[in-house]
Subunit: 465 residues, 2 copies
């Protein structure tokens, strides 16, 4: 599967038309999330590295042109202008791990129009998905309130690659480990895991299973205690751990948080106060929040499916909109979907009182820019950021996020404001578009239009010079 | 990312323990979906080919052992038993495209216990995800009631690989095309797409944009008419199509279905009754159903995000459970999660009145088996099925699905029944487990237990010989 053809066909039809028409002037597109999903107080920017890998390697080869030609039912020869096309533009983006809000550009592309258009689908896919999952995972960390959270999602993510990202993005926002061995190896995060119920079932009884497991695995053990009866299972685990003197660092795992109090009491009675309790099984930030608030004595939360697919909000309302073409600001006007014109910058101010400004504005005294130049001339600038860089960024931003935005239930997201210059430009562009549009009354008014009420210009066109 | 390490660590700890303990007898695991998600009347089996590719290529190489060893904080030497491990077992599975119901095995693995365990995570991932998406897409085809449906989901799926599958699985259940060029090239399904709003915005006006598009693209055109004002856009499109004599086969696309009636009237008035209307923008089976019921004159439905991520139900309650080990049937007993013992077969009877039976039972007179042998000794048997094979299977099964299961809203899923022999085995195993378990009263009964009511044996253990 070629990355060049991993795109919507319309990107290709548009790029080809732009090339044929000589419309190769620089365009800036802005990628942002219009509105946060329900129950989200913030987003965590992610996916930039995947996008930059794609952009720096993109090259439309002869086989890609063949595929495009087949898709369009045309001879490959007629698609010659696409051949060899690479991404030669620049990227300004919010580094992975930073907190972003609705309407704030996650990434801006400035490149010859055909290139800036061609990359839309892939870049949207990568940033939308990874930002979605990082944001969901971050809520689990908040819910756990300092207790470790680990990722168990691989079996239910949307393919193994999504599973890899779920593990990586959990680590980005502070998860302590993942069950996914490949992701652990690639990211350096701890691999975690113990046994399934089927392991216990494969032996005549729990004690035989736990002792066999201990024979194979030296050091601290994690024993799954709820295959049959949880209380009995905890007693058996305690006996085995004591007999083998393997208590310190060991743990028991419950596939439900309900019995944690009883399990804790039994472990304490058995003289094993250091044996930890790991809860798993259908957990997400809501369930973790409930368990933490009920003071359940759980030491580690393993979250899986619901987090790996962001089950309560499995997509973001992301957009990739042209904001400037050939030096002219472009703006989309409609009651529902306003896109402010021009390349932008976001200034982070204390308490996430962010200001969305034009890219060439100077920061307010207490603001620092979120978007950084990460690619020029189709090449990455600077070092490839590490997972630790992202972790540090997230931790720092989280510390400045208002408490209302951090809540798991009914969070209140901060809203960015717009700089005076950006507001003035938007008003100016809007006025110039309105002047160019025919007045509503001058258009033929038919029954269907009248039924929708007075016509309102919903203009998105560039302002001509 | 190695496929061998794309697994939960616990599969590795268990496999290693089984190898060390000499527990390499044949085990059968059954993969099934316990309960259908809300608003689902059936599932479409999918993902088998991905699973078989993995199983036939699986080999634990030296680097994989290094990764496992690092994950377990042990010297690689101690994990030697895993080195070179391949999948040597057999697979019986429901071919892709067939309709399946809750509780019916999608796939059964019979292999030496360490192998059968090691492959759990990857196989669950592939079958769960692809069955989920195929089932969602099938509902769109039903809602469209004969009108073509196409896939526009790539920008919002959980990574590009999930986007590829969304396109492929749409084609499996009868979608007429996809915007995803790579998927179109790989599967032979039609690639579809036209232009974005940004294309229209890049020109001084709609007419200039449409004419430029027509200059680049010969033959039928699809023009996006709702960048500014939909009615005006339709008029401009009609004028351009008439002027250029490009009406036949052409279409207009609306990012909302609301204005389809007006658009149809305008096209008809312009003498373009053959120009089709394509609706897109946030559509899923519910929205398509509403539009079809309201008799909106839409010719093609483009579905995207909500279908590509199965937004209303983004995961399946799938399970991979041991049902036999070393010749002994294994059973899990609990009020919530019963797993019937033994390798199984499903017999499809008219109207999806399926019977779940033991694998060696003879079919009832009017029943045909769903599970087929697709791998023996670690190698695929027979030809790799084509997408057309799957399409034909889905179409045939769909024809036999009761109307109540086909409904988009409040469908009623058929429930499989259990054969007499399977029921008798389950009762026998349950009785033998109960005899082996200590009676509830003989166990220490503490406050927490008493609070949960009388103890009930929740036994999952194999029946000893």
């Amino acid at each position: 599967m070629s990355e060049a053809t991993t795109t919507d066909l319309y990107e290709v039809t548009m790029a080809l038309s732009y090339l044929r028409e000589g419309m190769t002037g620089p365009a800036t597109f802005s990628l942002f999330v219009r509105d946060l999903p329900p129950e989200r107080g913030f987003l965590v920017a992610a996916g930039l590295d995947s996008a930059l890998d794609y952009l720096s390697h993109l090259r439309v080869g002869p086989e890609d042109v063949e595929d495009f030609a087949a898709a369009l039912h045309r001879p490959a020869d007629e698609l010659r202008p696409l051949r060899g096309l690479e991404f030669t533009g620049g990227i300004r983006a919010v580094p992975e791990g930073r907190i972003v809000l609705a309407g704030e550009p996650l990434l801006e592309v400035t490149a010859p129009l055909p290139e800036a258009q061609l990359v839309e689908t892939y870049v949207l896919n990568r940033l939308s998905h990874q930002t979605l999952i990082a944001s969901k995972a971050a809520r689990c960390v908040l819910a756990a309130d300092g207790r470790p959270v680990v990722d168990f999602s691989l079996r239910r993510t949307h393919g193994p690659q999504a599973g890899f990202q779920a593990a990586r993005l959990g680590a980005l926002v502070g998860f302590a480990g993942t069950s996914n061995v490949a992701a652990a190896a690639a990211t350096g995060v701890a691999a975690v895991g113990t046994m399934a119920h089927s392991y216990v079932e494969a032996f005549p009884g729990e004690e035989e299973a736990f002792r066999a497991f201990a024979r194979t695995h030296p050091g601290p053990l994690t024993l799954l205690v709820d295959t049959y009866d949880t209380e009995a299972g905890v007693r058996v685990a305690a006996r085995v751990l004591r007999d083998l003197d393997r208590g310190p660092g060991s743990a028991v795992r419950l596939d439900s948080g309900d019995l944690a109090v009883r399990a804790r009491a039994l472990l304490d009675e058995a003289g094993l106060p250091d044996v930890r309790i790991i809860a798993s099984g259908g957990l997400d930030e809501y369930a973790v929040d409930d368990l933490v608030r009920s003071r359940a004595p759980i030491d580690v939360f393993a979250v899986g499916t619901r987090v790996g697919v962001s089950a309560d909000a499995p997509y973001l309302d992301s957009a990739y909109k042209m904001v400037e073409y050939d030096g002219r600001p472009v703006m989309k006007l409609s009651s529902a979907k306003v896109t402010a014109p021009g390349p932008k910058q976001v200034f982070r101010r204390p308490g996430c009182a962010d200001v969305i400004a034009l890219a060439d504005e100077r920061p307010p005294g207490d603001g620092t820019p979120l978007l950084e130049t990460v690619m020029t001339g189709g090449r990455r600038t600077g070092e490839r950021p590490t997972l630790d860089d992202g972790r540090a960024r997230f931790a720092a931003d989280l510390a400045g996020l208002p408490a209302a935005a951090r809540r798991v239930r009914a969070p209140v997201a901060p809203r960015a404001t717009v700089s005076g210059r950006l507001a003035a430009l938007a008003a100016d562009v809007r006025r110039r578009i309105d002047e160019r549009m025919p007045a509503a009354g001058s258009r033929p008014s038919r029954a269907a239009s009248a039924a929708r009420g007075p016509l309102r210009p919903a203009a998105h066109r560039p302002v001509s010079r």
